[in-house]
């Protein structure tokens, strides 16, 4: 399942390219400006993505030290 590692590209797209398109104050989410909310959401999504990659990574079974 090495292809699942490609998911790791998504945070780069979201945080490097995303700001060009979501650089706006409204709509506010949980009171935060949209840009800030976008970044916070992607930090949480990134952690989830890394957890998925970890779960399916054969390397974690090989050297479970």
């Amino acid at each position: 399942m090495r292809t699942i590692r490609a998911l790791a590209l998504l945070p780069f797209l979201a945080l490097l390219v995303g700001p060009f398109f979501v650089n706006r104050v409204t709509p506010a989410i949980f009171g935060m400006p949209f840009l800030l909310a976008w970044i916070v959401a992607w930090i949480v999504i990134t952690a989830a993505i890394m957890a998925v990659i970890f779960r399916f990574d054969p390397a974690n079974r090989e050297d479970a030290q």
Partner: protein
């Protein structure tokens, strides 16, 4: 002695106590002192890596950045997150190579990979030049925190001396273990304090996050997003990318990888660290809350925003708790920097000259270097001056120059010659210095670019120059002497008589 001072003094004593306790029952040799015998599980590695993120810069500078500049401050949230994603793939091979070759420092990695103690000296010098201003920044922050939170009862000069003495003492005794143990206290306190402040200030002064951001938007339209000019989306994106690449190139962060017990520990941390990054959100919220409550701070004073608002809002004892957290955020990274810089001096500068030195001797020299480095940093902290500020601004760009030759040595990158690695780093660092000192920007270099793109971080230029130099010199070296020399050491076997370790255990402690 007021309530605030008691809290601050308790923090200093706690750090000292934990720092000494960390060595209890252990005979600390070179491998224990520098990389804790490669024995740390996920929690301690996490704390060491978190030690790099939450320094006084984050505490004071993060809130000050949000207060003074608004939206562009968000870049601090982003680069760590991307660095952790990279870490999942990049750090395990580094850790394995370090274990198999019994490496102690970041420079050791370059020495072995490229079979070149000279490259080790170059990398160490870059590291030390970047680390000392970073240590100065911690001491400066400590002085500001103690002076402000202590309502002026202790001068910042005295605070800097005491802080430097405390960190020096426990680093000499316990090495990196001291940093890890004090980090337990630091991260617990900072978590509680920052989350509290980030929620409390907006609630108390505005009635919630929504009303707070609405009030800021009404007073300063567009302040909480990226501006169209200056620090715009191009600046943001290029800065996030550069700092994400440079993140693990800091010698003390790189060194913290070695303390891990295994690669699984490192991968686990790549999941948790992004979430922990969200602490910064609360730092920003506190900084935003200060905008309309303690207006008028400018220049270097923006860094006081968080403490000005705190002293305005709370009883002295609460300010003392905040100050205590602040003191620990200075001491923990400060102690990691001390350990790392001392290791570089002993292991990579001294040992490059005295090849037959024993581990005991190298450790003794490392320990003796600690007070010397601390004194140099105290001197620059108290003397102030433009030099150190200039170095500080360049530090991150300096260490980022190590990225190309590091990452190219990881895979099957046999084509990078040691001459190429050295030339790339030297030219990259020189470019950073030239560009920073002459205030060159992408706009002055390429005036024909469209307006927005001109705001690209100029560090991209240095990295590109570095990479081109590395490539040209490597290809040139392989053409000149095609047969004689091995290029980057991919196998892990080194042919040079670099000191062999006396023991052959792979897992000295588990």
């Amino acid at each position: 002695m007021n309530g605030a001072l008691i809290g601050i003094a308790a923090a200093a004593l706690l750090a000292l106590g934990l720092g000494f306790l960390a060595r209890r029952g252990r005979n600390i040799g070179l491998e224990q002192w520098t990389v804790a015998g490669r024995s740390f599980g996920a929690p301690l590695v996490f704390l060491l890596m978190a030690g790099e993120i939450y320094t006084t810069f984050t505490f004071l500078g993060g809130s000050g950045f949000a207060y003074g500049k608004g939206g562009p401050a968000y870049y601090i949230l982003c680069y760590g997150t991307l660095a952790y994603v990279l870490s999942y793939f990049m750090l395990p091979p580094i850790w394995r190579y370090a274990r198999d070759n019994r490496l102690y420092s970041q420079s050791d990695f370059f020495v072995r990979k490229y079979d070149s103690p000279t490259l080790g000296v170059v990398v160490s010098l870059v590291g030390i030049v970047a680390l000392i201003p970073y240590l100065v920044l911690q001491f400066k922050g400590l002085g500001i925190i103690v002076q402000t939170a202590g309502y002026g009862a202790i001068s910042s000069t005295l605070a800097v001396w005491i802080g430097a003495a405390v960190a020096t003492a426990y680093v000499m005794v316990s090495g990196v273990r001291g940093s890890a143990w004090t980090a337990v206290a630091k991260d617990t306190m900072i978590l509680v304090v920052v989350v509290f402040l980030g929620l409390y200030f907006p609630l108390r002064y505005y009635g919630g996050l929504g009303p707070m951001f609405a009030a800021i938007e009404a007073a300063k339209p567009g302040f909480t997003v990226l501006p169209a000019h200056g620090e715009n989306a191009w600046w943001f994106s290029s800065t996030v990318l550069l700092t994400a690449l440079g993140f693990y190139m800091w010698p003390h962060t790189f060194g913290s990888i070695y303390t891990a017990r295994g690669t699984r520990v490192i991968r686990q941390n790549a999941i948790v660290l992004p979430i922990y990054q969200l602490i910064l959100l609360f730092v920003f919220l506190a900084g935003f809350a200060a905008i309309l409550q303690v207006p008028g701070l400018s220049g270097v004073d923006v860094d006081l925003a968080l403490f000005k608002l705190s002293t305005k809002s709370f009883d002295p004892w609460v300010v003392g708790v905040i100050g205590a957290a602040g003191v620990l955020t200075a001491l923990v990274p400060g102690s990691m920097i001390l350990t790392t810089a001392a290791t570089l001096i002993a292991q990579n500068l001294y040992r490059a000259v005295d090849r037959s030195a024993s581990d005991e001797r190298v450790l003794r020299i490392a320990k003796l270097s600690v007070p010397v480095i601390a004194l140099v940093a105290v001197y620059f902290t108290l003397a102030g001056g433009q030099t150190i500020v200039a170095l500080l601004l360049m530090g991150y760009s300096f260490v980022t120059q190590l990225f190309p030759s590091l990452v190219l040595s990881l895979g099957g990158g046999k084509w990078v010659a040691r001459e190429g690695a050295i030339a790339g780093i030297v030219v990259g660092v020189a470019t950073v210095a030239a560009v920073s000192l002459t205030h060159t920007t992408v706009a002055t270099l390429v005036p024909s670019l469209p307006a927005g793109i001109k705001e690209l971080n100029v560090g991209i230029v240095a990295l590109a120059v570095n990479f081109v130099t590395l490539s040209v010199v490597s290809v040139g070296a392989s053409l000149l002497v095609p047969m004689q020399r091995p290029l980057a050491d991919v196998s892990g076997a080194s042919s040079r008589a670099w000191p062999r370790r006396r023991t052959d255990r792979f897992w000295p402690e588990s």
